[in-house]
Structures are given as C-alpha cells and as structure tokens.
Subunit: 324 residues, 2 copies
C-alpha cells in the first residue's frame, strides 16, 4: 500500500523501481499493481508504432513538447526489442530522458523483457497502469517491430498511430496485413523524401479496399516533415497531436471507448491467467527437476512435448466441468 | 496414424490440410503431430529474418534453386504478419508457389495465426515438424519483423540468417539489441545500393563489442547483389548457401548441435504446456460464461485481473508440492 501511495503521489523513484521489477518478473511487483488498479483508466493511451528507422522517437519527442505547451502531463513508454540472452535495452532511458529530465510533468521509461515465457505484453500493460496511476494524462507507448508484436499495441492503446517513411519499397505490401486494421492515424514521416505521394496513394487505396470500420472513424493520413526543418516539423506535429486528441474525443462521443476498454480487459485477464497458472506450474517443474527430465525425453525422441504436457495437465489440474 | 503415414510418404494435400488445421488451432491436429514426432529432427532448419522490405523472399527463392541443383529437397515456411481481426496472410501461398509448383522436391507454405492467446510460435514449431517428417532436407523459415518475434526464430532454427539492406538509417541501432546475438550469418542484400560499406563496418564494430560466442562460430557478413543483375545475384547466393551448409557442419562437428536441440525442446515443451493447461482453462471459462463476468468486473474496476486470475488458479489447480 505504501508503494502504491507513493506512486499515486508521482514519486519517480518508486515508479522506476516498480517498472524494473515488472521487467524482471519479480512476484512482489504484482501486489502493488493490484493496489494501483483502481486508480487507472484515466489516461489517454496512444500507441506509436512502425518499422525500425521510421523516426518514431523524434515524433514522440515532438508530441511531448506539444502536450507540455498545452499543460498536459506525459508518460512515455519506449518498448525496446529485447535480447533473449543479455536482455536490456540498448537505447537506454538515459539518452531519452536527458531533454525532459528537469520537467516533472514528463516521465520517460524504456521497457524490455526477456524470459522463457514471453510476457512483454503483460509488462507493457502493467507499466501503463503505473504511469496512469501517477496521474500522467497522456501516455505514449512507442513500439518497434512489424507483425504480431506491432499489432499487439491495439490491446493497450486507445489511439494507434502508425509511422511510415517513403522509399522503403515493398514494405507496405509486407506489413499491411495486420497494420491496416489497427491504425487510427497514419503518419508519413520525413515527408520531404521522394516517394511521399506514392506512399499516400498506396495507403489510400488499401484503405479503400479494407472494410470500413464500424466505429465511423476514417483513418487519417498525415505527413510530418524532416525534423531538421524545424518550422515544417512543428507544423506537422501540431496537426498530428490535434488529430490524436480528436480521435480520443471521437471514441468518447461515439460510445466507442467501451470496445477498447473491453479488449484491454480481456487481454489483461488472459495475461494474468498465464502469470497465475502457467508460471507457477513451470516453476514447480523446474524446482522438482521434472523439466530437465522432460527435456531429455523430448531430445531423445522418447516422448513428444504434447504427451508430456498432457501428463502434467492431468497431474496439476482439478477435474471439473469448467476445465474441459 | 493414417494421416501421419501419408505425410511421411510426402503427400502434399494431407500436409497442407494439417498445416491449415494447426493455424486454426483445431485440436485433432495435435494427435497427428504426436504420431509424426518420432520422424522429426532430421532436417537442417534455417531461419531467414530481417526487416520488411529487406528482400528475404528473393533470397529464399535463390537458396531453393541452389538446394535443388545440389539435389536436396526443400521445405519453405513463410511466417506472415497477421491481422488479429481478419486473419490470414496477404501474400498467399499461390504467389509463392507458382515458380516451384511443378517440382515435387519443393514444398512452400505460408503460415499465419490469429487468436486470443498468440500461439504463432507453437504453429511454427508444429509446421516445421510436418515438413521435416515429409523428408524435406532443408527447411527455410522466413519471418518478418523486428523484436521479440524475430528473435523467436532461435527457438526453431539451427542456423539464423539476418538480412539487412543499406540505406535504412538508424535501423541497426534499433534492432541490434536482440538480433546481434542470434545471427549466425549476416546478409547485406541489394548490396549495389549506397551504404553497403558503412553497414558492413557497423555490423563489424558491433560484433567486436559483443561477447564472442562460446561455440567458436564467428558470424559471417556476406553481400548479395540486386536480383536484377542475375550473375552477381547468383554468385552471392552461392556464397550464402555454402556458408549456411558450413554452419550446419560446424554445429555437428563441434558438438554444438545439442545446445540448439535442447533450446528447441525446452521451447516446444513450454508451448505445449500452454496449449494443454492454459487453453482448456480459458475455453472452460468462456463456455461457463465466467470470462465475460470477469471482464465486466475488470471494466467496472471492481476487481483487478491478477486477483481474478488467482481465484481461477485456486479453483483449477491441484494442491501439490510441484505447484509451489
């Protein structure tokens, strides 16, 4: 309770330590998240996603400035790709923090997880709750990557911004499968480059092909110029930030918020079930030496993984109708 | 058993149908995978990964040709980014298959999954088993994406090829965290472009900074020219394919294969545990209407997801030492 109280009061150290504990999957972290849960759900969570090199961080920086000028507090979560071995984010908090280090209205953290069972998505959800409970009004979640991981942001964010850059060739063709349906706003970044018009046309024609969203929001396609040309860049950020705000208003005014909140709740529940059911079983198998024994069986082709897992399920699960 | 027999005999229809069933998470598929398990583990599994637009498919195509000239049979699994809503891969099998449609020594399938609980990695593992049991000697697994998903390939492949293209700016900076440690071979594709030298230097200097692998394999950095210049491209493919083969020999001759097989077994077990324990519990909650009730509680902030999940765990799990 003490920790939760400190976080509600905006204590940066307590929040940072809790985020680290969540990254490291330390069990004690969970009780603080439980304590905080009631104080969450107030922030506007914005996902900023796109390919590596698309310039997401520069945009995030611009949006932070804009929010601060409007008097809004901002939390930023930079979800970094992770090494399964050494762990940790190369682009550390230090670099990102510098510019806003003296501003108590801005809290920036990077997030990375390693681990046998994944769990990045759970960590992202928990970290958002922390920034939310701290009272940050806008939470920007920057994720790198295409495919599954990128699409995952829909489980956490109210508004999804997809960042693209011109001249990446067949990229669109490759990423469109998942991304077209989750984007609320498209940003063509570094729009001084050749190929901006072409990219605009491509996105437009793909939007026309895809079934129109039931919510009545038409995804916008915005351009933001190169950050070296400060005036053009800031004009782009102004349009983008205003559009992000407009999307939030749209959700609220058209009763669309419930959908996003429901999806988030469903996702968090499934992640929590994994953490509370699968992880203790796995830890038990490791402690008892059973996991090693099972791995040996699989390696020697004496048993297949499914048969072994079914045996564990038979031992661990209560018999009951709800478990069929 | 009948289906397993047909797949061992190389029956394309049975194999294709089984892969579709795995994608759709149809329970019956599991028993065939069990029947096949003993016949797996013979193929050389090669992961080809990299950013969207890096030209992975063109390289895969070149490697297929090379393998066929050497008389090797090839299986290809194209893991496509997936939409959580409409599902399905945009770049379908049809396009990929055409060139090799008449060659019974080549089997190409794309793979996509949707679903509440993820499960793409389990599907990839199962599909590799199918191609393996069919007798494909080399299995190429093409994955799109950066971050977690890209790094995941290490759980399935003996040899990991990371494909990069020059001129993508700060890409390396962003992706290196996870990718540097899993790459056995780097390919700079479309190396006629400006920036190839710079990219080579960057990879080299990062390799020098990272701790040298215990296995004694020094990751190679190769270049492959633009596919439009056929002679240059094919020379590049020749070098790449030979290097892929050399890496396999290195694993075998230096007792490094055991590590990779162990990692794969461990990963498959954890995926199987999820499928056999978490999925039935979740299905039970859905059927009983409990999941909806729980989601409602979370939405109304009456309970946090962890407390609810702990209650489910208390109901579903047997008390026992192995379970903590």
């Amino acid at each position: 309770m003490e920790k939760a109280k400190k976080i509600r009061e905006g204590d940066v150290r307590t929040a940072s330590r809790l985020i680290r504990n969540i990254e490291d999957n330390i069990p004690e972290a969970r009780s603080t998240i439980k304590d905080l849960f009631h104080d969450t759900g107030k922030a506007h969570v914005v996902g900023i996603t796109g390919s590596p090199g698309a310039g997401k961080s520069t945009l995030v920086d611009g949006i932070i400035d804009w929010c601060r000028r409007k008097g809004k507090t901002v939390g930023v979560l930079a979800v970094d790709p992770t090494s399964p071995f050494s762990g940790g984010a190369i682009l550390g908090d230090r670099i990102r923090m510098q510019r806003h280090a003296d501003d108590p209205g801005v809290f920036v953290r990077s997030l990375a997880t390693r681990g046998f069972l994944g769990g990045l998505s759970k960590a992202v959800g928990d970290a958002i709750h922390i920034l939310d409970a701290m009272g940050k009004e806008v939470i920007l979640v920057e994720t790198v990557g295409a495919g599954q991981q990128e699409v995952e942001i829909i489980n956490h964010a109210h508004t999804v911004v997809v960042v693209l850059v011109p001249g990446m060739g067949d990229e669109i063709q490759v990423i469109k499968a998942g991304i077209m349906e989750i984007a609320d706003i498209f940003v063509i970044n570094k729009s001084d480059r050749e190929g901006t018009r072409k990219l605009q046309r491509e996105i437009l024609s793909m939007l026309e092909m895809s079934p129109s969203s039931a919510g009545g929001w038409k995804p916008s396609i915005l351009t933001v110029g190169n950050a070296f040309d400060r005036a053009v860049f800031e004009a782009g950020i102004e349009v983008l930030s205003t559009k992000i705000e407009a999307h939030y208003q749209h959700l609220v005014c058209n009763d669309r918020m419930e959908d996003r909140i429901r999806r988030k709740a469903m996702h968090e529940l499934s992640e929590a079930l994994r953490a509370c059911i699968l992880e203790p079983i796995l830890n038990g198998l490791v402690t008892a030496g059973d996991l090693n024994w099972m791995i040996g069986k699989v390696i020697r082709k004496e048993a297949d993984p499914y048969t072994l897992a079914e045996e564990v399920a038979g031992r661990c699960l209560q018999k009951g109708a709800a478990l069929k």
